[in-house]
Structures are given as C-alpha cells and as structure tokens.
C-alpha cells in the first residue's frame, strides 16, 4: 500500500527528539542574558567595562556602592516600592469596581461608556502627561515630590484597564447572583460576599501585574520626576546611569542594581506564577 520506511511510533520518537533539542536551545537563549547580568554584577574590576562577561575580580563592591550614600539607588528603590504598593491596591480596586459594574449590570450608559473608554484608549497615554505634569506641578507633586504624583497618576485612570477582570467575571454564572438576591442580599453584599471571593485567581493576577508595573515604568516616571534625581524610580534612575555621559563609570552598578530589582519581583512571581498563567490564559484573550 504505502511506504513502510518508518512506523508511526518511530516517527513520533524522532519528532520528539528534535523537539527536545529545540526546547533546550530555546531555554539557553532565554536564560543566558540573565546569567551574564548576574555575573557582571559581581565583577568589581573596572566598573565601566561592558565587554567581559566573566568577572575580572569577584566581589560585592558593586552592591556596596548601591547601598552607599553616594548613589541614589536606595531612594529610587524606596520610591518605586511605595508606588508599587499603592498601585497594586488602588489599581486592583478600581479595575474590579469598573469590571464588576460593567459585567453584572445592564444600564443605559453601559455600551456608550465602554465605547468612550475604547476610544480614549486609542490616544497615546503619554498625551495626558503634559497637562497632568503642569497640574501636579502647581500642586507641588512633581520633581522631588514625584512619588505622590506618580501614585495618583497610576491609580486614577486605571479603571480603563478593566478588560481582563471583566472577561473573567463574564464567565461566572449569573445564577449565583440571583440565588444570593433571593436569599435577601443587597447587590453590595452579592459583590463582596459571593462574587469577589470566587475571583481569587484573577484578583491575584491583577495585584501581581499592577505591582510589577511601576518597576518598569519609564515614561510616566521620567515626565513627572523631571529634573530631579530624588524623585526618580528605579527605571529612570538606572537608565540615567547608562546614558552616554555616564556609561564610563556606571555599567557594573547598573547590573548590580538590575539584580537587586529583579530578585524580589522574580520571587514574588515564582510564588504567584500559577495565578499569572491563569490570568493570562483565561482572561487576557477573552476580553
């Protein structure tokens, strides 16, 4: 009838071997840069040299510099941490309030609201920063005092990012709500007693992503903290170390800073990985 060169099982085995090889190569490519980063963080030789990977001299000097009074690193770290803390609470609250209202209720302005938010989202986010900077400036919440300003900026409009939460809530059967109402609960009680407890995975996902956000935010932080070293967050601060004027001296410090910033986030991520994956695979696309 047909070729008998390879039985089905043998064919599958070769395919699997090739797959394993590819996966191993992929894993290497994705991990290598971080391994290099960590290695260079421990190199206390010439702090500006970007070329060598293997440390010229092993030591913790770079880390010491970060924590010394010469660098603003601690300040930046502290700033970012505070912002992230407030952001994860505030953003989660805002997003879920919006998502719940849009998912569970039907009111006349519902579709127009969603459309308006869709349209507003099409404008580059940065556009709002120009105005907000002036306003916050007049309120004294910029430059050195950038942190409160950034917190406000991060939380205030976060309701627009309701899509993942709403997608998830849409999949919860409304019969739960109805049963609770028959039992005599007000809509508020349904919200915090019945539905929200069931959203634990998505809540954790939202908390996680909103916590991680401020650590990597460059554009907003750079705008609001304009002109001040004290008000920067880690992203803007570390980037300033790498700008051409400074690169002579600061490259290794940057690596060390990167390691310090990355580690807590990675640990947090490791523990909550399950929720993150669930949020991405479940909610991110349904929206």
């Amino acid at each position: 009838m047909e070729r008998r060169s390879m039985g089905m099982a043998a064919k599958r085995r070769t395919a699997n071997i090739i797959t394993y090889v590819i996966l191993v190569m992929i894993s290497i490519i994705w991990i290598i840069p971080f391994i290099f980063l960590i290695l260079q963080a421990f190199d206390v030789g010439n702090p500006g040299l970007t070329g060598n990977v293997w440390p010229e001299k092993w030591g913790l000097g770079n880390f010491a510099y970060l924590f010394s009074s010469e660098s603003n690193f601690l300040r930046w770290y502290f700033n970012t941490f505070i912002i992230a803390l407030f952001a994860c609470v505030g953003q989660t609250a805002m997003q879920f309030m919006m998502a719940y209202a849009l998912s569970r209720f039907r009111f006349k302005l519902r579709k127009p609201m969603m459309n308006v938010m869709l349209v507003l989202g099409m404008f580059p986010g940065f556009l709002t920063m120009i105005v907000l900077y002036e306003v916050l400036n007049s309120l004294g919440m910029t430059s050195d005092n950038a942190v409160p300003g950034l917190i406000l900026v991060n939380i205030a409009s976060s309701g627009m990012g309701y899509y993942v939460a709403k997608g998830f809530l849409d999949t919860m059967p409304k019969s739960l709500d109805e049963a609770a109402e028959v039992d005599g609960a007000t809509k508020f009680q349904v919200f915090y007693k019945v539905v929200m407890p069931l959203c634990k995975p998505i809540v954790i996902y939202t908390v996680l992503t909103s916590f991680m956000g401020p650590w990597g935010d460059y554009i907003f932080a750079a705008t609001i903290a304009k002109g001040s070293q004290e008000g920067m967050n880690v992203a803007t601060g570390l980037n300033s170390w790498l700008s051409t004027a400074n690169i002579g001296g600061y490259y290794k410090y940057f690596c060390a800073g990167g390691v310090i910033v990355a580690i807590p986030v990675i640990i947090l991520f490791l523990f909550l990985q399950k929720y993150y994956v669930e949020g991405v695979t479940g909610g991110a696309v349904k929206g």
Binding site: M1, E2, R4, G7, M8, A9
Partner: protein
C-alpha cells in the same frame, strides 16, 4: 469493503494499566459489528486502535489480510464518525464534507475526452514529422516519446486526487442522501445536533473507505432523535455497503443495528454473537443483564435433579424445567446444585391462580408505560422482581387488580429460564469458550492452565 482481523490485540498504558486484554475478533467483509459495554470497558480504545489513533501494544491488526499496526490512520483507508462530531467550525458544511476529498493525493485514471485524444494524436503526428527529419540518435529518443504518449492514451488520464467537479458531485450526492442539501453553505454553529451529526456522517461517506468506524455517534442526541437516526443508520448501511464497526453503550442500538455484537467489560470480551444469540443464550450473567431492558431478574436458588426431570426450588415452590433447557441440562449431566436463576421481566407471566409453578408476590409500584405495565413486585422474603406485562389483552378487572399492595401470582416461562453458576456466573448451558463475569476475569485460553 474489507475484512478486519484483530489477533491477540492488547492495549497497555504506561504504569501497567491494561485497557484491552487479548482481543480476538474476525470481522467479515461488509459485516456490521457493534462493540457494546459500560463506560470504560475498552470499546472506544479498541475502535481507536483500529483507526490508528492509539498504538497497539501487543498483537496484530489486519485489514484485508495486510498487517496495518504501523500504518498512519490516513493510509488505512478508513472513515470515522466521532461522538462530538469533530466538525471544523470555521468551514461551511460543504467544505467540511469536501475536506478529506481535497486532501486526497491518490492517482486515479480518468478516460480521455475526445478533444484530449485529438490533441495527443496531434502531438504524435508532430513528433513523427520531427522523426522523419531527425538523425539516428534523435530518432530513438523521439520513438520513446511517441511510445510514451501512445501508452498513456491506452491507459487513460492520470489525475492526482479529485477534481473540483468530482468533489462537488460526491458532496452533493451525500448531502442528498442525508437530507442536508439546504445546509451546504451554513457553518456548523448554525445547525442542530442532529444536523451536525449528519454532516459528520456525510464527511465520512464521501471517501472510498474499507472500514467505516463510528464512535458513539448517537450519544449526544435526545431520545427521539436517537430513534430516528438509528433507522437512518440502517438505511445508510444498505447504501454504503461496507464493513462497519460501531461503538455504543446503548444496548438497544447494539441489538437493532448489529449483525454481530461484541459485548465488552473491563477490557475483556464477554461474548461475541448475533443479537439473537446474546439475547436468548447469554454466555454469562453480565451479558444476560446488560442486554435487554429492564434488567433480567436473578435469584440465588437450587436446581434439583429429580430422576430424569429437573425443577427449580424457589421460595419453597417447585418450578419445573422442561423442553430444550431440560434436554440441555441432561446432555451436560448437570446434577442438583446451587444456581443463579435468571429470567427476563417479559418472560414472567401473571397466572390466574396460585398453583404449581407459581409464586405469590406483592405489587409495590406499577409503572404505566402505555402499552405495558412494569410491575415492581417483591416476593415473600423481600426479593425484588420486575415484571413486564402487555396491557392490550388485560380485562378491566385485571387492570384494577394491578395496584400497589395487591398480591398476584407469577409463573416462569419454562423456555426462558437461564441457569448460571453462582461463582463464575457462567451459563451452565454455554460452550467452552464462555468467559466468567464474576471476580477476576479468566479467559478460556488461560483456564486450561489453571
């Protein structure tokens, strides 16, 4: 049309879980075989091994005499209808049914059209003209070409796969048979379950296949539709006339559709036979109770040999055994012994009065099925029995009598009594290849060694 032979086929999963033990079956050409059994008995697994969707751990599978263990599903020339239809959601019905045809790459011979033959002959003429003007070396080459064209005219046109017109024709024909011509441009989502099932069948029909496999195709339909589709499958079988292997857990489907039934349990074959064989002469208790609804009634009791005659000692009453059954018992030399007595609800008769061979029972529930009563009764010692009684010939007085609380007398139809060994549940009158259905299942082939 093809013969399918399974020889000692086993399916073992990693972790030493055996899903199918030593499966032996010889399916004849154009035969309709049904694999039936409860969930997890291995029927679907066996079907998928035939299809090539599961590897065969041990044993040989032959289609048309050729060993196909290592062949890809697409090379086995099979068609399959899935339980969940497996229709491609983004394609229209037409495209769903055309899908296998468009993938086909076999070379087929078509007759040449007049125009094409003329064209080929013209080519030969031109070549001959060239030949006359050519030198020796070239002459041989041109001769070869002419020969090639001549042979090709003889053979016919070689076409790879199906032409668009052929696809159109096959699909529309199948659609006509299945009554779905109006849906050809719809997508699966816009159709009901029954219609989708027909599309799935249509897709399997359009190919030329040797074996037609169906994996619980009616399980997702409602009861009424199921009855309808059963009849249609019988008609389909007449139309396609190829070898069918059909898997179901519904014994009604098995009984009505199959030429032969393979009753399975826990990976073992309990019995292979025609519907009549399984109904009238079940090899073991499992088959006896699986086939037929409501389930056969069983009683743990004693079979007594009284000289040349036999009777059953049930609830301290004597039920005589006569006819074929008695002869069979005598032929096997069965002595007085404990047995499981089995009798189907429809073979219990309501006697006019209590006398020899009857048992008094109290009615607990009367299920009125319309043309029958299903009486749930209990005997004096509390044993529950189900009786099926046709209502058509009952007098009004008799009907009034059949209410909960009343006592009636049951007689056992002697021709319909079954006797099973209480330990192995094997039918006493069964042949040597019968499999036990109680306890760890030991195949007949293994029994010799024990």
């Amino acid at each position: 049309m093809a013969r399918v032979q399974l020889e000692n086929v086993k399916k073992i999963y990693s972790g030493n879980v055996t899903a199918v033990h030593d499966f032996n079956l010889d399916i004849g050409d154009k035969e309709f075989v049904v694999f039936v059994g409860p969930s997890g008995c291995g029927k679907s697994t066996t079907l998928r091994m035939i299809a090539g969707l599961e590897d065969i751990s041990e044993g040989t599978l032959k289609i048309d005499g050729e060993v196909v263990n290592d062949l890809q599903p697409k090379d086995r020339q099979i068609s399959m209808v899935f339980q969940n239809y497996a229709l491609y959601p983004h394609l229209t019905v037409f495209e769903n049914m055309a899908f296998p045809l468009r993938l086909d790459k076999k070379i087929r011979i078509h007759p040449w059209t007049e125009k094409e033959i003329d064209g080929l002959n013209n080519q030969i003429k031109k070549l001959q003209e060239q030949r006359d003007a050519a030198n020796e070396k070239k002459k041989a080459a041109i001769d070869k070409k002419i020969e090639f064209i001549r042979a090709s005219i003889e053979k016919g046109k070689e076409v790879k796969g199906f032409t668009n017109d052929e696809i159109f024709e096959r699909v529309t024909n199948a659609a006509k048979v299945l009554g779905i011509t109006n849906f050809l441009t719809r997508k699966p989502k816009a159709m009901s379950g029954g219609q989708r099932q027909r599309v799935a069948i249509g897709r399997a029909m359009v190919k030329d296949c040797k074996v037609f496999l169906m994996d619980e195709p009616l399980s997702n339909l409602d009861a009424k539709l199921r009855n309808q589709m059963r009849a249609e499958i019988i008609l389909l079988r007449k139309r396609i006339n190829t070898t069918f292997v059909y898997v179901t857990h519904d014994q009604t489907e098995a009984m009505t559709l199959g030429d032969r039934i393979v009753c399975m349990r826990d990976g073992f074959i309990m019995q292979v036979g025609t519907p009549t064989q399984l109904f009238d002469m079940p090899d073991n208790l499992f088959v006896a109770q699986f086939i037929g609804a409501p389930m056969m009634n069983t009683f743990l009791t004693k079979l007594v040999k009284d000289g040349d005659k036999y009777y059953v000692d049930l609830f301290n009453r004597k039920l005589p055994v006569s006819g074929v059954k008695a002869d069979g018992l005598k032929a096997k030399g069965i002595q007085t012994r404990d047995i499981l007595l089995g009798i189907r609800p429809e073979h219990l008769i309501v006697a006019k009065d209590s006398g020899e061979g009857t048992i008094p029972v109290t009615i607990e529930v009367n299920e009125m099925m319309g043309s029958e009563y299903h009486l749930h009764v209990s005997s004096e010692d509390g044993t529950k029995i189900i009786v099926r009684i046709p209502t058509i010939n009952l007098s009004d007085k008799e009907r009034e009598n059949m209410v909960p609380g009343n006592v009636i007398n049951l007689a056992f139809e002697p021709k319909a009594m079954h006797f099973f060994d209480p330990d192995s549940e094997i039918n006493l009158l069964a042949g040597p290849e019968a499999v036990n259905s109680k306890g760890p299942i030991i195949l007949p082939s293994e029994r010799e060694q024990v």
